[in-house]
């Protein structure tokens, strides 16, 4: 199922581990490795954009980047600072309207991979970017809202969630379902018959969580280099299950790290969210 390079962890070489890297760099590189060449990816700004642009410069030169501003096949030579950066329009195969990007390109399932993040994710991969605490009309914290995420979560053939892991952000049950993973009980997605498969991986600074094939509960399947299970458990707000075969992610290669660092230097500000 999983074809990302990190599954080949036994191939990790001494050279590849010789350079220092951060957990965030590992997370970005793991996300990048999950993108297959020749596929289309719906890209959000920040880490997803960094990962997708890294993939295009390493193992996936034919990756098609689609930004919700309406740019299809963008090939920016630096990291854009927003989803509507002029460099995306300048380098795209086509620039279309926002109704078109959602109705013609996303909705029919033409996009292979959607990348999502959020303020909260729960054990069934549901994402909250709307409100935290209190109730909807009187929230403790008001977040930006849905943006393109609900339909990306529903219609992309598969979804990758990329988020830093902490007990506050990885919660038993999200306060508000902005974008559905597998639903409140793990079975809702199947009952709804949504076109996309849902979240196939949650890539974090601790490793990777994947849904259990039966229950859909997110389960730790990969650990980041140097991370242990207890750390991953401590960073999770529910009782985290661990796969029987737990793999250690292949550390960044020299090439991945240098391309990533060069790429981030092009923006002057690095990740913008």
């Amino acid at each position: 199922m999983s074809v990302g390079a990190e599954t080949a962890s036994t191939a990790g070489t001494a050279e590849s581990a010789s350079r220092e890297f951060t957990a965030d760099e590992m997370m970005t590189i793991a996300a990048s490795r999950s993108l297959r060449d020749g596929t289309a990816c719906f890209v959000g700004i920040g880490l997803p954009s960094t990962a997708a642009n890294l993939a295009r410069r390493t193992h996936a030169p034919e990756l098609v980047l689609i930004y919700e501003s309406g740019t299809l096949g963008a090939k920016p030579d630096q990291l854009p600072l927003s989803i509507g950066d002029g460099i995306l329009a300048d380098t795209a195969d086509s620039v279309v309207s926002v109704p078109e990007i959602f109705n013609y390109w996303l909705q029919p399932g033409r996009v292979n991979t959607g990348f999502l993040g959020g303020a909260q994710v729960d054990k069934y991969g549901n994402i909250n970017t709307t409100v935290i605490g209190g109730d909807y009309d009187d929230p403790k914290v008001r977040l930006p809202g849905a943006g393109g995420a609900p339909e990306i979560a529903a219609s992309c053939q598969e979804v990758l969630i990329v988020m830093r892991q902490s007990p506050r952000s990885f919660v038993e049950s999200v306060d508000f379902v902005t974008s559905i993973g597998y639903g409140r009980d793990g079975g809702e997605r199947d009952r709804l018959g949504l076109p996309g498969r849902g979240p196939v991986k949650v890539i974090t600074d601790m490793g990777v969580l994947e849904p259990d094939p039966q229950t859909r509960e997110l389960t730790l399947t990969h650990l980041g280099p140097g991370v242990d299970v207890e750390q991953a458990r401590a960073a999770t707000g529910w009782s985290l299950r661990v796969a029987e075969e737990l793999t250690v992610q292949q550390p960044p290669t020299e090439a991945e790290l240098s391309v990533l660092r060069e790429l981030k230097a092009t923006t002057g500000k690095g990740d913008s969210q």
């Binding site: 700004i45 919700e68 501003s69 309406g70 740019t71 600072l81 927003s82 989803i83 509507g84 950066d85 002029g86 995306l88 329009a89 086509s94 620039v95 309207s97 926002v98 109704p99 959602f102 109705n103 996303l106 909705q107 709307t130 909807y136 009187d138 929230p139 403790k140 914290v141 008001r142 977040l143 930006p144 809202g145 849905a146 943006g147 393109g148 995420a149 609900p150 339909e151 529903a154 219609s155 508000f176 379902v177 902005t178 974008s179 559905i180 639903g183 809702e188 997605r189 709804l192 949504l194 076109p195 500000k269 913008s272 969210q273």
Partner: protein, 273 residues
């Protein structure tokens, strides 16, 4: 009669207290100068519509222009939260702010229905999310052909739609290019419309992919060079990324914000042309 007017006259003629107003622009071509003119003219009780309320809506909300916000993602792109927006929702400052919340796909379809003269639009959206429970303008309908359960969103037909474009000719025909978001739909969906442009030219030059709004669908055109700043106008100027960064501390603090509105908006002698 030519629709070309001065910005202050156009805003005064077209925007009244209590109106439903949409200032659209998807990162690119945001009609910021028109928003400032609305603040200067002291409009109140507006229902502000916009897919991506960002800094200009933060300013208008903080200045007390808005009673309600219809939106799909409210944030300072690449920077973080909108603090005036949050303060209005969480603490009713300076006035309470009602919200009507959608996804991008939902908003884009609401404008499309409005532009098409239809009462609603259909999309495969919102399934499994908590948004329909809080938003009156999202309903579920059954497809009369297949029986599939789909989302219906009511048409959005603002009293006034405001967008920014690169050029108009002397008759008031408007041309915009690059990322054009939902701007065409906004103008066509709105009862009245105002387009601010970088430049009035003798003749519009045909450009691949450009959107042309003929003079007979536009109520008024105002020449406002730099009218999209701090967003960008492709072919004219780039996005002022530092402005978005600088906004964060100003927006966080009520007193700093008040001073900013006084010096940067209210005390500005008169609007640009």
């Amino acid at each position: 009669m030519s629709p070309i007017r001065q910005l202050d006259e156009a805003v005064s003629e077209l925007v009244g207290d209590g109106d439903v107003v949409a200032l659209e622009g998807f990162t690119h071509l945001i009609p910021v100068a028109a928003g400032h003119e609305i603040i200067r003219q002291g409009r109140r009780d507006l229902t502000l519509c916009r897919m991506t309320p960002d800094v200009i809506y933060d300013q208008m909300i903080g200045a007390g222009c808005a009673r309600k916000l219809v939106f799909s993602w409210g944030g300072n792109p690449g920077v973080g939260s909108l603090h005036r927006f949050r303060d209005a929702i969480q603490h009713s400052w300076p006035v309470p702010l009602e919200i009507e919340e959608h996804s991008h796909a939902g908003m884009a379809n609401r404008y499309t229905a409005g532009a098409s003269g239809l009462p609603f639009a259909v999309l495969r959206g919102y399934a499994g999310t908590d948004l329909p429970a809080h938003t009156e303008s999202i309903k579920t309908i059954e497809c009369p052909f297949t029986g599939e359960s789909l989302a219906a969103v009511s048409a959005l037909n603002p009293d006034v739609g405001i967008v920014h474009a690169q050029q108009a000719d002397r008759q008031g025909n408007v041309q915009m290019w690059g990322i054009t978001g939902v701007q065409k739909e906004t103008v066509l969906a709105s009862k009245r419309s105002l387009v601010t442009v970088e430049e009035v030219v003798d003749e519009l030059e045909p450009r691949p992919g450009a959107v042309v709004l003929p003079k007979w669908v536009v109520s008024a055109v105002a020449e406002v060079p730099g009218g999209a700043h701090p967003s960008y106008a492709q072919g004219y100027y780039e996005r002022d990324n530092d402005y978005y960064q600088r906004w964060d501390p100003i927006g966080r603090d009520r007193e700093q914000f008040r001073q900013w509105v006084d010096t940067e908006v209210l005390d500005v002698e008169r609007s640009a042309r």
